[in-house]
Symmetry: C2
Subunit: 157 residues, 2 copies
């Protein structure tokens, strides 16, 4: 991982990030790839870039975007006013899985949360993603909660 | 529920909100109640109040704070740049449970997410809270995910 750089995404990275989001059993039907960039992605990037508590990260290796995830810092009153970190939308390029990139990304995220003074880091992983659960448990996450979603429209994926 | 008002919390509501957070099997050991207000709560309230995507809500009935929850609006690239609503720290005063207050609060939150253009609403509920899971399923939430947490310090509750 010595040549892996993790940094905030720029607008120029968005097509590569969308391709990573779509390079996944569930993401395949959720995203719009090919052709001009869907305006929803550009609007989302602008909202993230404008908010110091929202970060879209990319992992870059030899000039290629090989991974991505979202990291949010969330305030709340619980736990005596603790901040929490939240990780979402983790993807590693399919041809590079199993090489420790995901581990490096999550360890980096957890360290940023610790520096930021968060009391905890949380994430939700789809029940179908068995390998992901073992992966996160190996990094210290405990599967103590049920993650529930209510979808307003579109595919329930 | 006709006399129930749901609104953003003010600084004056914070002691009542903290009391509600602590009025719970898990919250009891997490929160600091009695005596002067822990400064962590005031700092958290300030962070929430400063961020248009973070809302600490209270449910008020006949001048009493009878419920609370957090509602966050989170940007992200997934689902073609969809916003998502996230609900946390839901509490109803213990002597008023089972009367539909929680349902009114969550339905209110879901409606705000819909108005805000969110594609989904998500939450995590501790595995131990069986009654909460049925409650949320009755409101249209699907238990499709595992919620995982990594705690840096303190009680793993």
């Amino acid at each position: 991982m010595s040549n892996l750089a993790i940094r905030d995404a720029t607008l120029q990275d968005i097509p590569a990030v969308v391709a990573l989001l779509a390079d996944d059993d569930k993401g395949r039907v959720r995203e719009a790839v090919g052709g001009p960039l869907h305006p929803g992605y550009i609007e989302a990037f602008a909202a993230i870039a404008a908010d110091p508590n929202q970060h879209l990260l990319v992992a870059e290796q030899e000039g290629m975007i090989v991974g991505t995830f979202m990291l949010s810092f969330l305030p709340g009153l619980s736990f005596r006013g603790a901040w929490r970190g939240q990780i979402e939308a983790v993807r590693v390029a399919s041809h590079l899985r199993g090489q420790g990139l995901g581990r490096a990304m999550i360890e980096w995220a957890v360290e940023r949360c610790r520096e930021r003074g968060c009391r905890m880091v949380q994430l939700m992983s789809h029940r179908d993603r068995d390998r992901a659960h073992s992966f996160y448990e190996g990094l210290g996450f405990e599967p103590t909660h049920i993650g529930m979603k209510l979808h307003f429209a579109g595919e329930h994926v």
